[in-house]
């Protein structure tokens, strides 16, 4: 008992060596494990980016990047995703200080912004396919739909996860396991925004350069 109290007292000190600190708390381990998953996801995206960069000019006589991409639409998508990342951060703060209403509000705002992003992206895809620029038209379009589509798929999965977390939060409250899952969700959501930064730079902005 005394030892435990002393251990806790020591843990508060910053100067403890990593080999003497004992096993890390579960919340740190869960965050680390999820971070490894996110990195492996980013490595997968790097392969998709590489194939896109190689095939970007291979339009096989079809529509090219300059003709297809609409910068206003991309700017709106970027703004929506960035704001949803910010509101997700606000949700994390509300979770840390255990404020129910603010957490729900943050989750709902994050969901709405993410859903609006997804709607814009789907509209863009539909417009492209209507112009005859479907994935099977050229190597460039196959690579484009694979890269941007898998980002969109990740956003879809994130939205489903967020709905699940709202349900869990309302049923079980701020239990440790729910809080851990919410933090993993916010990591996932911020990582998606990082990948989008690369997409709008490499695919859209570099695509419209003369």
């Amino acid at each position: 008992m005394n030892v435990a109290v002393e251990m806790n007292a020591v843990r508060q000190g910053e100067s403890l060596d990593i080999s003497e600190a004992g096993p890390a708390p579960k919340r740190i381990i869960a965050g680390f494990g999820f971070w490894i998953f996110l990195l492996s996801d980013i490595v997968m995206f790097s392969a998709l980016f590489a194939s896109y960069a190689v095939l970007a000019k291979a339009s096989a006589g079809g529509l090219t990047t300059v003709q297809l991409f609409d910068q206003r639409n991309v700017a709106m998508e970027t703004a929506l995703l960035l704001l949803s990342s910010y509101s997700c951060g606000m949700m994390s703060l509300a979770i840390n200080s255990r404020r129910y209403l603010a957490t729900f509000l943050g989750a709902v705002v994050t969901f709405l912004l993410g859903a609006a992003f997804l709607k814009l992206e789907l509209r863009e895809f539909q417009g492209m396919i209507a112009l005859g620029a479907a994935p099977e038209r050229s190597a460039f379009l196959s690579a484009f739909f694979t890269l941007v589509g898998s980002h969109g798929l990740h956003v879809t999965v994130g939205l489903a996860w967020l709905v699940l977390m709202i349900v869990q939060l309302s049923l079980r409250g701020f239990q440790d396991v729910v809080v851990r899952r919410l933090h993993c969700f916010s990591l996932f959501w911020h990582a998606l925004d990082i990948i989008w930064v690369l997409i709008f730079t490499v695919v859209y902005l570099m695509g419209v350069l003369p």
Partner: protein, 132 residues
């Protein structure tokens, strides 16, 4: 002290301070600074892509630098990947991930550019066949 502690929180981690004493305003400030920096970098990216002020061949490099800077902003201000003691393992994993990403991207681009350069143009190949 409060700000210090917040910066040393690993991803997915709870703050060391109990919930009741948690100072939400410093966290709010971190996210807001991150948002402002990200907005500035994004707007600059769109401006660089559309302006004629900048020397055209330098634009892709400029865009790449802006994107990498913005990813750094997201990592530090949103994902809280910092130099804190709880974050050591995360930083090491990130370094390994960045290594793999650069190998995959750089390797593919260099190899494919090289192949493109050394490949015989289509018209020349046709001529060879005709001559034969």
């Amino acid at each position: 002290m409060t700000t210090e502690t917040h910066w040393h929180v690993a991803p997915g981690d709870l703050p060391a301070i109990p919930a009741s004493e948690q100072n939400a305003s410093s966290g709010f400030l971190v996210y807001t600074i991150g948002l402002l920096l990200a907005v500035i970098l994004t707007v600059t990216s769109f401006w660089v892509a559309n302006t004629s002020v900048i020397w055209a061949p330098g634009v892709p490099a400029g865009l790449a630098v802006l994107a990498i800077a913005q990813m750094g902003v997201h990592l530090v201000f949103f994902l809280h990947i910092t130099t804190g003691p709880d974050s050591t393992n995360n930083v090491l994993a990130l370094a390994f991930g960045v290594l793999i990403v650069f190998l995959v991207l750089g390797g593919s681009l260099v190899i494919m550019a090289n192949l493109n350069e050394n490949m015989m143009p289509h018209t020349e190949m046709m001529n060879l066949q005709i001559e034969r």
